[in-house]
Symmetry: C2
Subunit: 209 residues, 2 copies
DNA sequence: GTCTATAATTAGATAGAC
DNA sequence: GTCTATCTAATTATAGAC
């Protein structure tokens, strides 16, 4: 029982994980510049020096946190995004939208992170777009174009579709604190999430019920 | 020609205005903490000390900049948001949506500012919601409920409608730098703006063309 | 691996000349 | 009103003990 007995790559995984989770939360809430490494360490219950030990710099920590956020998304979506010739495509698309709404409700950090960095040009935005957002966009693009070709969803430019989808599905949850103060409603409440998913599906897929 | 001959309240309005305009841009791009007063002064072509002279603190400057952003919105919408019994309500609603999309394209700072502060609880969020966002929400609410009662738009919870509307209309423009890197498309280009407005109207108003 | 202490830098605020 | 110069506090990065 000297040192290397943890289940992860190297070092004490639980501390590393705690820092990563805290970083994801704080970076997403306050943005890169607004986030303080001291606060991240504190929320993780870890020592400030350990950030350098595990991630070297604030920027590396940010990248690791972003990678983590997209890992979670990918894990959640892998099956649903696959071509899936088994099920009816319309049903598959609807399920994809519902799952995305639920994902936004559970992981608002994801939307916050993406929406924060995409507002301005800079090395972090470029890294984020090239590494994560663009691949995701291309995946969605194929789906959308296929569905549009079959008349399942309105023929709208793909860029618009993408931003409408992300905006419509995610904003309610990324703005949860604002929403709660403004309306008294906690958007992460299950019934609210489901009602929102219904709404997004209905609008995007043009159901006229 | 001693000192007081400018068209504004007091002091040299043009410098004050330049600082305010620069602040609006920089605060919206980088958030409150990420914005540096030095950069704001520099972009305004003004001296750092003048920020204290005109606005006292960074926080006061932020509030003045936000007030300015909402003034622009209000000026743009005053007529359209009024009850307007003259025109067909359906047409009025559609026009309102189109105008909001165009406003987001022209003033992406507005969406950026709102979306940044609404992510976390804090004094700035509370000030912003109480002073600006909630009144706007209540205005939209009445319109939406009226339109829903008449079956003009789908019966969807007002909270969802609000965030879907703001997200669908605004995200494409608040994320303009990301969009341009990802797709090569400049979303502020006139044809893209109009196509996006068409898309949002079509989805929100359930047209099945 | 974890911690304390500190160096180096930078930010907002401010004093005061012109 | 506008400017230069500086103060003070806070932040990231880092050295080094345990």
């Amino acid at each position: 029982m000297s040192t290397a007995e943890t289940p992860d790559t190297a070092g004490n995984a639980s501390t590393r994980e705690k820092i990563l989770a805290a970083a994801l939360q704080i970076f997403s809430e306050r943005g890169f510049e607004g986030a303080r490494t001291r606060d991240i360490a504190e929320r993780a219950g870890a020592n400030l020096g350990l950030i350098k030990y595990y991630f070297d710099t604030k920027e590396q920590l940010w990248k690791a946190a972003v990678d983590r956020a997209f890992e979670i998304l990918t894990r959640d979506f892998q099956e649903l995004m696959a071509p899936s010739s088994e099920v009816d495509e319309r049903v598959a698309l609807e399920q994809m939208i519902r799952r995305f709404v639920r994902f936004c409700a559970e992981s608002p950090e994801f939307i916050r992170l993406m929406n924060d960095e995409g507002k301005r040009d800079g090395p972090r935005m470029r890294w984020l777009v090239d590494r994560h957002v663009k691949p995701m966009y291309e995946l969605v693009r194929r789906r959308v174009e296929s569905a549009q070709a079959k008349g399942m969803i309105p023929a709208i430019p793909v860029v618009s579709t993408h931003y409408i989808m992300v905006g419509a599905a995610g904003l309610l949850f990324s703005q949860a604190p604002e929403c709660e103060r403004m309306t008294g409603i906690d958007p992460t409440e299950k019934s609210t999430v489901e009602a929102h998913a219904d709404a997004v599906v209905r609008l995007l897929m043009g159901d006229a019920t």
